[in-house]
């Protein structure tokens, strides 16, 4: 099996240097040479489109029920207000921001935690001892995958939804209105920030199970806890004291803040507007990445 030492040139070229672009390329290779990546990305797209189309089908059914007179009750006149059933863009991002996002954050977390669990991190940080640059390269790869994956999901869901809902009364299917573009563009920004937030959690926690648990806790469980508490205690529509504080704080949770931008309209009592919400999510993401990157640079591997 072993080859003689003389038969192959061990001495190579000495002109090789480390660079950021090369690190990005290396991370890109790492991502696409694992089968799990293809599964996760494929699964994300399928879930996104599938759930969106299911919501759209439900909408179409609702419209059908609303506009079709019951047999033998032809005398009933049924008026449907335009826009009352919803907006296609909002339905699409709701479907794409449901389970698919949870699958994609597993990918973002694994990008760093699988290096720790396998020991690959030692090879990585030996080849590139400047750890900050490695993490930034990973961040670039996650972001450049997140945006097209969700853009494809949203685009395909929208096209399918348009075919199904075109001409339906009560559904706003415009694509290019300012609101529609804000909803879909804002969704892509928020979902990317959320994925990077979870990547940051991975750099802090290092274990796959711990990081995914923490991410799901913050994204899914925390808003639920807040909403249950508010339902129990916020009986007054304009509460005071700690209930008020709880109500305000719930708006600043990373996901709650990030999804404001995907709503067609906003309540007057809300503190955060759409772009302020994105800003709050961005602050969460930045904070998490700064902590994660600092600890990664300082701690032993």
């Amino acid at each position: 099996m072993a080859t003689g030492v003389d038969s192959i040139q061990i001495t190579g070229s000495k002109t090789h240097k480390l660079s950021f672009l090369r690190l990005v390329r290396s991370e890109w290779i790492k991502v696409f040479t694992l089968r799990s990546t293809w599964w996760i990305l494929g699964f994300t797209v399928v879930l996104n489109i599938g759930i969106s189309l299911a919501l759209i089908a439900a909408l179409r059914y609702a419209e059908y029920i609303a506009t079709t007179p019951m047999p033998g009750a032809e005398e009933f006149e049924f008026e449907v207000e335009l826009g009352s059933l919803g907006m296609l863009s909002n339905v699409v991002v709701t479907g794409c921001g449901f389970v698919g996002q949870l699958v994609f954050i597993i990918f973002a977390v694994l990008a760093i935690t699988n290096e720790y669990s396998s020991g690959m991190i030692r090879s990585t940080f030996t080849a590139s001892p400047r750890r900050l640059r490695v993490l930034l390269a990973k961040l670039v790869v996650i972001a450049t995958l997140c945006i097209p994956i969700f853009a494809i999901s949203v685009g395909a869901s929208w096209a399918g939804g348009y075919a199904i809902l075109q001409g339906c009364i009560g559904v706003d299917v415009t694509l290019t209105s300012a609101v529609s573009l804000r909803i879909m563009g804002g969704f892509l920004i928020s979902i990317t920030l959320l994925a990077l937030f979870c990547f940051g959690l991975g750099t802090i926690i290092r274990s796959t199970a711990g990081s995914i648990g923490m991410a799901v806790g913050i994204i899914v469980v925390l808003p639920m806890v807040f909403s249950v508490l508010l339902q129990v205690f916020a009986t007054d529509p304009d509460p005071t004291g700690w209930v008020r504080w709880l109500m305000n704080a719930s708006e600043f949770l990373p996901t709650t803040a990030g999804w404001v931008i995907t709503q067609p309209e906003f309540s007057d009592s809300a503190i955060l507007g759409p772009w302020e919400g994105v800003g709050v999510l961005g602050a969460w993401t930045l904070g998490c990445l700064v902590i994660g990157f600092t600890t990664t640079v300082r701690r032993d591997v």
Partner: protein
């Protein structure tokens, strides 16, 4: 060249490396020896910047490794064999590492061929045996054609042919003027490759010496003497400041005097010698002796059985119980 100066590493309250200083020179193979848990791997990780020393520092070619512009051309490292994602193929693993320095695919394939993994390069690294993983690690270490190689227990899990191959490879690389720093817990293995030996125990430096000096130390310093005048000889030797021990049956072993000196002295004094034998101690014995007090994982003394004793009476339950109680007592 690797320069370690006053390096100390604490993990919590445990001192893994204790004020270690040594230099690994280029153009030769430096063996790094020590019992399990002596701090060899930790020292190597400190040199590579994977761990940060509590005090002191390590420099590679005059610089801290983490500050180098082209790390893979400075140092190639083989650390624990499982520094690879198990789901990635060997070739893809090497391509990902090579990409960080813009090293070509051809170079990757050359290194795969060099370490003899051509047939299995498309297989997942997780399916590799320990020996194959070691070969993959060596290929990764050589990718950047590094000036310095840091190899942690590279022969672990290799078949005899693989061991001989690694031996030739490191000697060849050293002959090209590179710095080779290679760890092992086997003195016999180091004796075959190393020009220089650094031995540590419990994180402290024990020996930093040329291999040839160690070999000299190993030969001829103990002489076995059998004589009816044993008592007189012991007295005379001890009076001269050397040590002589009575082994019983008119046999003594003398330290610090050559067989020649003993024979000449005996002739002068009229002692009768029945036997005069220089005892060759193996390097392994010397190594064991030096690290004896610096072994972290102490094993229980096993009752020594002479070959004939072994045949006649196998160790009884009570003798085994005795040895385990001796272990608890330590």
């Amino acid at each position: 060249m690797i320069d370690v100066a006053g390096m100390t590493k604490k993990f919590g309250s445990k001192l893994a490396v204790d004020d270690l200083s040594f230099t690994v020179r280029s153009g030769m193979v430096t063996g790094f020896l020590g019992p399990n848990g002596a701090g060899k791997s930790t020292t190597m990780r400190l040199v590579l910047g994977l761990d940060t020393p509590t005090r002191g520092q390590a420099r590679v070619n005059g610089r801290t490794y983490t500050k180098t512009k082209a790390p893979m051309t400075e140092v190639g490292a083989l650390l624990e064999a499982k520094s690879v994602h198990p789901g990635r193929t060997a070739r893809n693993h090497l391509r990902a590492l090579a990409a960080t320095h813009g090293i070509s695919k051809k170079r990757v394939d050359d290194m795969i061929e060099l370490v003899g993994l051509s047939d299995v390069a498309g297989k997942k690294a997780g399916e590799f045996s320990l020996g194959m993983s070691q070969r993959l690690g060596l290929a990764a270490a050589l990718l950047g054609d590094p000036e310095t190689l840091i190899l942690d227990e590279p022969i672990n899990g290799l078949d005899p042919e693989g061991v001989a191959w690694v031996r030739n490879l490191v000697k060849y690389l050293a002959s090209e003027g590179r710095t080779i720093f290679i760890s092992s817990h086997l003195m016999s293995e180091m004796a075959m490759v190393a020009d220089h030996i650094i031995i540590i125990g419990m994180g402290r430096l024990i020996v930093d010496s040329e291999m040839s000096d160690l070999v000299m130390q190993a030969s001829g310093l103990v002489t076995k003497v059998r004589s009816p005048n044993a008592a007189a000889i012991i007295q005379a030797v001890n009076r001269s400041g050397r040590s002589a021990t009575d082994e019983g049956d008119s046999t003594i072993s003398i330290r610090g005097l050559t067989a020649q000196a003993i024979g000449e002295e005996a002739a002068k004094r009229g002692w009768v010698l029945h036997e005069l034998t220089p005892i060759q101690r193996s390097l392994e014995e010397i190594y064991m002796e030096m690290t004896d007090s610096a072994v972290e994982f102490v094993t229980g003394a096993v009752p020594r059985t002479e070959p004939d004793q072994l045949r006649d009476q196998p160790p009884t339950l009570s003798s085994l119980a005795k040895s385990s109680s001796a272990r608890r007592g330590r």
